[in-house]
């Protein structure tokens, strides 16, 4: 696998492929529903403790002008947001009892939050 993340976060490379292709909240939410909980948990357990370091690194760049490696890292931590919903609250990838799969449509200016 070729390196896609900034060098300081090369240890997170095994998880990058899960998230860096997902450009929308809808696609990340769907990916979370499709992933085994253990995979989300492993990603969370490895990445969440690095969150403050990751964000300090990203905050040093202008928010609209992330270099490509940093943009991939940011998309990965947006994936971490979904993984964290599963790990921190539900102990399950999917909301217990929710229809699978389901989509919550995103509109308005939501796309800007990418």
């Amino acid at each position: 696998m070729s390196a896609s993340l900034p060098a300081a976060f090369a240890d997170l490379e095994p998880f990058a492929h899960l998230w860096i292709g997902l450009e929308t909240m809808e696609s990340r939410y769907r990916a979370r529903q499709d992933m085994p909980f253990d995979a989300l948990k492993q990603f969370y357990d490895t990445t969440a403790p690095r969150l403050a370091d990751i964000m300090a690194h990203l905050d040093a760049f202008g928010s609209d002008t992330l270099p490509s490696a940093e943009a991939r890292l940011y998309r990965m931590v947006l994936g971490l947001v979904e993984a964290a919903q599963a790990v921190e609250f539900f102990a399950s990838a999917r909301l217990p009892g929710a229809p699978y799969p389901h989509d919550v449509a995103v509109g308005g200016q939501a796309a800007l939050s990418d």
Binding site: L58, D59, Q85, L95, A105
Partner: protein, 412 residues
């Protein structure tokens, strides 16, 4: 003076049918007919007496800043597509999104910017003021007077940046009178500084009033949101997450929560902790810019289907639009101050995801509730005294439908 603010739910209300009193039996007992959540006849009656008569919230005025900016909003229960557009004179107008030639919608998509609206069927073209500007090959319509064939207008008015429409060709009362005593609380909802917005929508297999109910009370929080919101809302002093205060203004209502001021995210919830801390820093950066205060109601309920709440980073508004007797569409907007850093954007993403997931907790419950009610097992259900907001709403709707039926009888 109509729809006066009161600490009790017994006050009269006016939706444009004249002054009425909320149904006394429902207010007293909290007992509501189960078929009000599933019957087709009831659905049709609510369409005619409520959705075709009340002022309905559509959009924020700042979403249409420039001449030519437009949005299309569908009021599905009435089968109506509403086109709202800012004219070259800066005036907001609303029209039925229907070409006067053969009925085709003239505006596509949910929003956009236009110089004029050209019908995609035969290119009849309408100005931003709704007037018919061009009929291709007009000599083949020798008898038509283009001056009479503008887009059909819909009543529109704006209060504190909130744009409302009324599908009644001749609304029985003004928006200001309709809002009545709830207007100051709406005016205190300062969304304009919150220029970043996440918007979500989801179709729920439950009646629209079932959709509203969890937004009207805290009673369900300890159970339905045991994994999410419970710890933010439930305290030893307030184990059932009751409002500390309720107020009623005609058909509208508000509830103020007691909250849990000592709540902080659990330390092992690393992402939530980071997001909450970052959102606090964002608030510090733009201190005082329109945030909810201690006097902001946790639930501000503008009849029939518009809710405003304090949000994780500013404000949260939602609507529950009836589709069929047993389904509705949830539309929600989460308002935040514009993020500057990647951290702030991540905090917003976490806040919206948390809102989405706790919303899904409600939707899963109400879809199952819907099946229970529609099974016909019981002929009624109950709202307790801590559920006085939904009880009041049920009493208002009961009286409106009784009154509308009485009006029809007297007209017959």
């Amino acid at each position: 003076m109509t729809n006066i603010l009161s600490a009790t739910p017994e006050g009269g209300f006016d939706l444009g049918h004249g002054m009425m009193m909320p149904d006394a039996a429902i207010l007293r007992d909290g007992r509501v007919a189960a078929d009000s959540f599933w019957s087709e006849a009831r659905h049709a009656a609510e369409r005619d007496a409520i959705y075709r008569r009340c002022w309905l919230y559509m959009v924020r005025a700042e979403d249409l800043p420039e001449p030519g900016d437009y949005v299309v909003r569908n009021v599905e229960i009435c089968g109506v597509s509403v086109l709202i557009v800012r004219g070259k004179d800066d005036v907001l107008r609303a029209f039925h999104n229907v070409c006067r030639h053969r009925g085709m919608p003239v505006a596509d998509g949910a929003c956009g910017k236009a110089e004029a609206f050209r019908c995609p069927y035969h290119s009849w073209t309408f100005g931003l003021d709704g007037s018919l500007k061009a009929i291709p090959n007009q000599r083949r319509f020798p008898a038509l007077d283009a001056g009479d064939l503008g887009l059909v207008p819909i009543a529109i008015d704006v209060f504190a940046g909130f744009v409302f429409i009324n599908l009644d060709p001749q609304p029985g009362l003004s928006l200001k009178a309709f809002l009545g005593g709830i207007a100051p609380l709406l005016e205190a909802t300062t969304l304009a500084p919150f220029t970043h917005r996440d918007s979500l929508s989801y179709d729920v297999a439950a009646n629209w009033k079932a959709g509203l109910d969890p937004q009207y009370e805290g009673y369900h929080v300890g159970t339905v949101h045991a994994l999410t919101i419970r710890e933010i809302s439930v305290t030893p002093a307030n184990p059932f997450s009751e409002f500390r205060k309720m107020a009623f203004a005609g058909p509208h209502a508000a509830g103020w929560s007691q909250g849990n001021p000592s709540w902080r995210p659990r330390a092992d919830r690393i992402v939530q902790s980071f997001a909450v801390q970052t959102m606090g820093a964002l608030a510090g950066r733009v201190a005082g810019e329109g945030y909810p205060s201690a006097e902001t109601p946790a639930s501000l309920a503008i009849f029939p289907n518009f809710m405003i709440h304090p949000g994780a980073g500013g404000w949260f508004t939602q609507q529950h639009w009836p589709l069929t007797a047993q389904s509705h569409r949830w539309t929600a907007h989460y308002y935040y101050h514009a993020p500057v850093t990647a951290s702030e954007r991540l905090a917003i993403a976490q806040a919206t995801a948390f809102g989405r997931d706790s919303g899904m907790e409600d939707f899963m419950v109400m879809a199952r509730q819907q099946k229970g009610l529609a099974s016909g097992a019981t002929d009624s259900f109950y709202y307790g005294e801590a559920e006085m907001l939904p009880r009041h709403r049920a009493a208002v709707i009961r009286s409106v439908l009784n009154g509308a039926q009485a009006n029809m009888r007297s007209a017959a």
